[in-house]
Symmetry: C2
Subunit: 260 residues, 2 copies
Amino acid sequence: MILGRIGGTAFTPRWANDAMSELFLRKLRHGAPLQAEDEALLSCLVQGARSYEARADIVPQGSAQRMLSLVLDGWACRYKLLANGRRQITALFLPGDLCEPFGVMPHVVDQGLAALTPAVVASVPLGAVQDAARRWPRIAEALWWDLLVAATLEREHIVSLGRRSASERLGHLFCELHVRLTMVGLADEDGFDLPITQSDLSDLLGLSAVHVNRSLQDLRQTGLLALRGRRLTLYDIDRLRELSLFEPAWFHPRRSDALP
Amino acid sequence: MILGRIGGTAFTPRWANDAMSELFLRKLRHGAPLQAEDEALLSCLVQGARSYEARADIVPQGSAQRMLSLVLDGWACRYKLLANGRRQITALFLPGDLCEPFGVMPHVVDQGLAALTPAVVASVPLGAVQDAARRWPRIAEALWWDLLVAATLEREHIVSLGRRSASERLGHLFCELHVRLTMVGLADEDGFDLPITQSDLSDLLGLSAVHVNRSLQDLRQTGLLALRGRRLTLYDIDRLRELSLFEPAWFHPRRSDALP
DNA sequence: CGGTTGCTTGAGATCCATCAATAGGAGTGG
DNA sequence: CCACTCCTATTGATGGATCTCAAGCAACCG
């Protein structure tokens, strides 16, 4: 429930500049027809990778924001800590995810950003992204698409918390993660790595950790999935989607040139 | 639970062009130092007002989006209808609210837009807004600020659904509405008009209508508020904020020029 | 080996949903 | 003005979903 206080450590040399932006680009390609020059330009924006331990704050609640965070490795989250000590995770960020809409002006963040696992996070200067978007239409399109997907995820999160049962929330989350991780090549057909704790899941889904545990057991006993160690195996994705009221259609907003 | 099928009626002449954008401008002034020329330009974008009956769909779920909707009068909402018939309202729109972030490209909307009360809604051409923002920095700043506030509201909605009790959700909503309505001059110090039904509130807050009713009675009996007819009176806003874990600070992201 | 963290299980309490019935209020037509 | 209807608000009773507290277990790690 309580987040650790360990800050980021120094620059991590194992991330060469190309490798850093690879997952990010892989995702953006779903949103716009990026050319080699667009990708080269985007790569240049990604700099200053730092490592964080699990539970470390990346951007503390209430601090001023001038850079965007891009997750290179590990999982992170946006969260809010309430006065009564409860925590709600409002968004989950996977490798390749940009943690804020690209064009916001500098501002004070109302919610913090924290690592859920050991993570490597790069900083992207706000102004540079805005400039790139202003000058290169395909980059702008890709970034707007990314923003659109992020907003859709957030709204679906609201729907889950408001109108889905505990098992449905879990199932829906797993379906969503499967799609997102597949987009960046981090899932295979029947599952993926789930590196966060059940307590994190509970803070994400608005449940207690105990109930997450029991609902997971329900899903296992129904034969829909297995969760051993960090590996989540999905035995029957179609049935899981049906059970969770998951509609993959909303996931890929059509590109403008594809609109009727 | 089920939305009506009545479409919009024809153009409503009672809205002159100036009056149409007045509330919208009033809100944006909180986000950027708009000059007369900026406001004039923004006013020109707002066109094509239409009236809708309560419960009418404004933009149905699954349709293509090329225009932005601006609420001139009445309350509206973004909602999702689940396969099992449940409805979740993901955002509430008040007079002066732009219903989508300004810059999104045309896309298929995953969630519909509906009137909750009789409403008048104008359409704003997407391209025109983007052009204006590109050319006039203050307009861009105001619109980004608006987007930022909308995103913050959405995240706070997630926190409510995930980690606040029924009474806290209601209290938090009323505090939020009080701030938002005050920004456009539609609330006075001790309350405002609440024109939606308890059933709408339940779909917004992820509760049952019966439980909304009971939680409202709790709040009344605690002496925090009164709700007679459509008028909501707040007797002790500070105490209500405390009880609801409402933090008004996040509401006004600082302008870029005010950052340290 | 002891300490820590995360997972699992049980029992009891609480919050909230559902079902069903009644009451109030606004509009409508006679 | 009354009877009627629809919609919304209210109330009661009951069951279910989920929470909390508490304890035990398993894995990992220095």
